[in-house]
C-alpha cells in the first residue's frame, strides 16, 4: 500500500512537470509574449521596443532555461542597464549586491509576480482558493447528500414510478450545463421580467458575507450539473446490489423492505459512488470557472479566466499546478478509498 501511494505520488510529480511545461511552452510563444509586452507597456509599441522589453526581462532566452528559472534550478536573469542600474528576476531594483539571491523559483517557494494583479502569485492563489473552497464546500454539502438520496431512492425499486421520475430528473440535470441553468435561474429568480426577485443574480457580495440570498443560485447551479451523474451511478450500483443473493435471502427471511434497503443494501451500494464523487471534484472545477464568471464571484475560476485572458504566465502556471494537484489527489484518494471501503479488492 505504501509503495503504491509512493509510486502514484511519483507519477503525480512527473505529470505536474509535463503539464506545467506544456502551459509554459504555450504561454511563452512569441505572439503571446508580444501581447504580454503590449499590455504591460503600451499598445503602440514598435516591434523593436517589444523585443527589447522582452529581452530585458529574460523572456527571449531558450525555453528550457526559462522553465528552469521558474522551477528554481537555473539562476534567475540579471540585466544591467547602460546607466548601471541592475534589475533581476530574484530581487527588487535597489537591492545591494550581496543580498541578491541567485535562485528564485517554485523550489525556493517563490511563485513569481502576477503581471495582471501586480502582486505575489502565491498570495493571490491562496486567497482565491479560500473563496472557491467556500463555494465548493457548500456545493458538496448540497450535491452529495441529494445525489445519493436520489440514486438510492431510484435504485431500490427498479422500474417503479419513483425510479422513472428520478431518472428523468437526473438525465435532465446532466443535460443542462452550468451556463444554461445559471442563465435560467437568474432570469427566473433574480430578474424583473418574471417578477420573482427571491435571490440575487450576482454573488460578489458573497465573497465577504455569504447569505442565503446571494449564494443560493451559484451553489445550486454547480450542484445541479454534477448531481445527475452521481445519482445515476448510485442508482446503477443500488440496482446491482438489489439483485444480489443476500438481498433475496433477507427478503425471504421476512425482513421489512425499509430494513433491507437501510441495513443490507445501502452500505454495499455506496462504495462505487464514493469513487465517482471523488472523480467528479475536478469536473466541478470547470463548473466553478463558468459560475464564477457568470455570477461575478472573484474566486479561483475567475482568476483562471483573468490570467488566461491576459497571458499572465506565472499566475497561469500556479493555477495549473493547483488544478493538476486537485485532479491527481482526488484520483489517489478515490483509489485508496475504494480499497479501504471494499475489502474484496487488494492492491498487489
Amino acid at each position: 500500500m505504501g509503495l503504491f501511494i509512493l509510486r502514484r505520488l511519483g507519477v503525480m510529480i512527473v505529470t505536474a512537470l509535463c503539464l506545467t511545461f506544456i502551459v509554459f511552452f504555450l504561454t511563452n510563444l512569441y505572439p503571446n509574449l508580444e501581447k504580454l509586452a503590449k499590455t504591460q507597456g503600451n499598445f503602440r509599441m514598435s516591434d523593436e521596443a517589444v523585443a527589447s522589453y522582452l529581452e530585458k526581462r529574460g523572456y527571449l532566452d531558450p525555453m528550457p532555461v526559462k522553465f528552469g528559472r521558474w522551477l528554481g534550478v537555473v539562476p534567475g536573469w540579471v540585466t544591467e542597464a547602460p546607466d548601471g542600474t541592475v534589475t533581476g528576476r530574484c530581487f527588487a531594483q535597489n537591492t545591494p549586491a550581496q543580498d541578491r539571491p541567485t535562485f528564485c523559483g517554485v523550489l525556493q517557494g517563490n511563485w513569481g509576480q502576477s503581471t495582471v494583479f501586480k502582486d505575489d502569485v502565491g498570495g493571490i492563489v491562496l486567497e482565491r482558493l479560500g473563496l472557491t473552497g467556500k463555494l465548493m464546500g457548500f456545493v458538496l454539502l448540497v450535491m452529495v447528500p441529494s445525489a445519493l438520496l436520489i440514486g438510492v431512492l431510484a435504485g431500490m425499486r427498479e422500474g417503479s414510478a419513483l425510479d422513472r421520475s428520478l431518472s428523468t430528473f437526473s438525465i435532465a440535470t446532466t443535460a443542462t450545463p452550468e451556463y444554461v441553468s445559471g442563465v435560467i435561474f437568474i432570469a427566473v429568480f433574480a430578474s424583473s421580467a418574471f417578477g420573482l426577485r427571491w435571490f440575487k443574480g450576482s454573488a460578489t457580495s458573497a465573497m465577504e458575507n455569504a447569505t442565503f440570498e446571494n449564494f443560493t443560485l451559484p451553489v445550486l447551479t454547480i450542484a445541479l450539473y454534477g448531481m445527475g451523474y452521481i445519482a445515476r451511478m448510485t442508482r446503477a450500483s443500488m440496482t446491482e446490489v438489489m439483485t444480489a443473493q443476500y438481498i433475496r435471502t433477507a427478503r425471504l427471511k421476512g425482513v421489512s423492505f425499509g430494513n433491507i434497503v437501510l441495513k443490507h443494501a445501502l452500505r454495499n451500494a455506496l462504495i462505487a459512488p464514493f469513487t465517482v464523487i471523488m472523480l467528479q471534484i475536478p469536473w466541478l472545477l470547470n463548473g466553478v470557472v463558468i459560475v464564477e464568471t457568470l455570477f461575478n464571484y472573484k474566486g479561483f475560476g475567475w482568476v483562471l479566466v483573468q490570467a488566461a485572458g491576459n497571458n499572465d504566465i506565472e499566475l497561469l502556471l500556479a493555477v495549473s499546478v493547483v488544478s493538476v494537484i486537485v485532479v491527481l489527489l482526488t484520483q489517489l484518494i478515490s483509489d485508496v478509498g475504494y480499497v479501504i471501503l471494499n475489502p474484496r479488492i487488494r492492491i498487489s
Binding site: 509535463c18 505572439p31 427498479e158 414510478a161 435532465a172 451556463y179 433475496r248 470547470n286 479566466v305 497561469l316
Partner: protein, 489 residues
C-alpha cells in the same frame, strides 16, 4: 401590425393545457407516493432479485392516470402545433413558430412514419422505436438536425437575416411587429430582438446549424483517434499502454477551460499550432481506414490494392482540403507550408472554425481512448479472440474485426452522449468568447452576449439556453433508449 401574444386565437386551449399539466403532475406525484407506500411494483411485480409480489389496485390506478394524462398532454401540444400551422401568426407566437417550422414537421413525420413501418428490418435503430424514451430523444435530436440543415444550409426557416440589425428593434420583446416592414418582409420578430436589434429566432436556427455542422464530426474524429490508439493500448498492454495512458491522463488533468484558453486564442492561431494539431488529429481516420481494410483483405491483393487506392485517395483528398485554407496548411508571417490549391479545396473551413474543431476533438479523444482501452482489455480475454489467435490472424485483424464489432454497443451509446458533451463544450467556448467571431449566431456566443441584460430582457439568452438544453437532453434520452434496447438482447 400589432404585438403578438403567445397563443393568439388558440388561447382557449391554454386553460385545458394547464389543467392537463396539473393532472399529469398530480398523477406522477400520486404514483410516486403509491410506489413508496404500497408493497408492489405494478400489476405483477417482479423484484430485481427474482422474487414475485402480488398485484394491487392503487398503483395500477395511478399508473393509468399518469398514462392517460400524459397522452392528453401530448394531444394538446399537437393541437397547438397543428392549429399553429393552420392559423399561422393568428395563433400568436406559437402559431407563427409552428407555421415557420412546417418543413421540419413534415420531415419529422416522414422519418417517424418510415422508421416505425420498417422497424423490424432496421436493427438497433429500429429497436429504438420500441422505447418511449428513445423515441422522445430521437424526436428532439432530429428536430434540431432538420432545423439546422434546412435553416442553415438552405436558408429555409429563417424569417430575417441573422446578422443584420433592424432599427427600433433593440431588445424587442417576443412577438413585436417589425418596425417599418415592407409588405414582403416577415412582419414580426417572433422571439424578439437582441441587444444589437437582430432577430433572435433566425439566429437560433443559424446557431443550430453550427452545432449540427461541428458536433457530430468532431465527435467522430475523437472516436477515430480514441479507437486507433485505444485498441492497441488495450490489446498489447505493456509499455505502449503505459505511455499512451500517461498521455491521455495528462490531457485529462488539464481543466478544460484552461486548455481552451491556451489553444483557441488569436495569438496561438498565429503560431499555426492548431493547424499542426489538425494535421495530426485528422490523419487518424486515414490510418484507421487503411489498417481496417488492409487487415481484412491482405490475403486477396487483387481486391485490396484497388480498394485501398480508391478509399485512401478520397480520404487523403478530404484530409488535405480540411487542413488547407487559402492554399496553405500553415501560413504566418515567417513561413508558409503550401497545401491544396483553392480550386480543388472543396471544404471551406475558416481558421476560427478549424481551431474550435481541433480543440473539441483534442479534449474528447483521451476519454474515448480510455473507454476503448477498457473495452479492449475486457474483450481480449474472450474465447473468440483466442480462436482467432489460434487461426493465426494478425493482431490488427483481431483488434478491428473481432474486438471492435463486439464493443459496438457501449461505443454507440457513448457516441450519442459524447455528441451532447461536445455541444456543451462548443457552448462553453462561445460563452467565454473563444474561437468564433463575436457576431457568430452560435448558441454559446448568443448566451454570452445576452447574459449582460439578463435581468431586464431575458429572452435573448433564454431562447438559445433552452435550445441547447433540449438538444443535449434529446441526445441523452436517445443514448438511454439505445442502451436499454441494446441490453435487451
Amino acid at each position: 401590425m400589432e404585438q403578438l401574444t403567445w397563443t393568439g386565437a388558440l388561447s382557449g386551449l391554454n386553460l385545458v393545457f394547464f389543467a392537463v399539466a396539473l393532472a399529469l403532475a398530480v398523477s406522477v406525484l400520486a404514483s410516486i407516493l403509491v410506489s413508496v407506500f404500497a408493497r408492489d411494483t405494478g400489476p405483477l411485480g417482479v423484484n430485481a432479485d427474482g422474487t414475485l409480489m402480488a398485484a394491487s389496485g392503487m398503483s395500477g390506478l395511478t399508473g393509468q392516470a399518469r398514462y392517460f394524462s400524459f397522452l392528453a398532454l401530448v394531444v394538446i401540444v399537437l393541437l397547438y402545433v397543428i392549429g399553429g400551422v393552420v392559423l399561422g401568426p393568428q395563433a400568436g407566437i406559437i402559431g407563427g413558430l409552428a407555421r415557420n417550422m412546417l418543413p421540419v414537421w413534415i420531415a419529422l413525420i416522414a422519418i417517424f412514419a418510415v422508421s416505425i413501418t420498417f422497424k423490424r428490418k432496421l436493427g438497433l435503430y429500429g429497436k429504438l422505436f420500441d422505447s418511449t424514451i428513445g423515441m422522445i430523444g430521437f424526436g428532439l435530436v432530429m428536430f434540431w438536425v432538420f432545423a439546422g440543415v434546412m435553416g442553415g444550409a438552405f436558408d429555409m426557416l429563417i424569417t430575417h437575416d441573422p446578422l443584420s440589425q433592424f432599427s427600433g428593434m433593440k431588445n424587442a420583446l417576443p412577438g413585436t411587429p417589425l418596425n417599418g416592414a415592407e409588405p414582403d418582409d416577415y412582419q414580426w420578430f417572433l422571439l424578439g430582438g437582441d441587444n444589437l436589434a437582430r432577430d433572435v429566432f433566425s439566429r437560433l436556427i443559424k446557431g443550430a446549424w453550427i452545432v449540427v455542422k461541428i458536433a457530430p464530426f468532431a465527435t467522430l474524429f475523437a472516436f477515430m483517434v480514441g479507437i486507433t490508439l485505444g485498441l492497441p493500448a488495450g490489446y498489447y498492454s505493456g509499455r505502449l499502454d503505459t505511455f499512451l495512458s500517461f498521455l491521455a491522463n495528462l490531457i485529462l488533468a488539464f481543466p478544460v477551460i484552461l486548455l481552451f484558453y491556451l489553444l483557441v486564442t488569436p495569438e496561438i492561431v498565429q503560431t499555426g499550432i492548431p493547424n499542426y494539431m489538425a494535421a495530426v488529429l485528422f490523419s487518424f481516420p486515414i490510418v484507421f481506414c487503411a489498417v481496417l481494410l488492409n487487415s481484412r483483405y491482405c490475403t486477396q491483393p487483387s481486391l485490396r490494392t484497388p480498394l485501398l487506392i480508391v478509399v485512401l485517395g478520397v480520404l487523403v483528398w478530404i484530409y488535405l482540403s480540411l487542413i488547407s485554407n487559402n492554399g496553405a496548411i500553415v501560413a504566418n508571417d515567417s513561413y508558409r507550408i503550401p497545401g491544396l490549391p483553392g480550386f480543388v479545396d472543396w471544404i471551406d473551413m475558416d481558421s476560427g472554425l478549424l481551431t474550435v474543431f481541433v480543440a473539441v476533438v483534442f479534449v474528447n479523444a483521451p476519454t474515448v481512448f480510455r473507454i476503448v482501452r477498457g473495452l479492449a482489455l475486457d474483450i481480449k480475454t474472450r474465447d473468440y479472440v483466442a480462436a482467432a489467435q489460434t487461426r493465426g490472424e494478425g493482431p490488427w485483424y483481431i483488434m478491428l474485426w473481432e474486438i471492435l464489432p463486439n464493443a459496438r454497443g457501449p461505443l454507440i451509446v457513448d457516441f450519442c452522449l459524447r455528441i451532447g458533451y461536445t455541444t456543451i463544450l462548443l457552448g462553453t467556448l462561445g460563452f467565454f468568447g473563444l474561437g468564433l467571431e463575436s457576431e457568430s449566431p452560435d448558441w454559446g456566443t448568443t448566451i454570452n452576449s445576452g447574459r449582460r441584460l439578463l435581468s431586464l430582457y431575458p429572452h435573448a439568452a433564454l431562447v438559445p439556453a433552452f435550445a441547447l438544453m433540449t438538444l443535449v437532453l434529446g441526445l441523452n434520452l436517445l443514448a438511454d433508449g439505445l442502451r436499454e434496447e441494446s441490453l435487451r438482447d
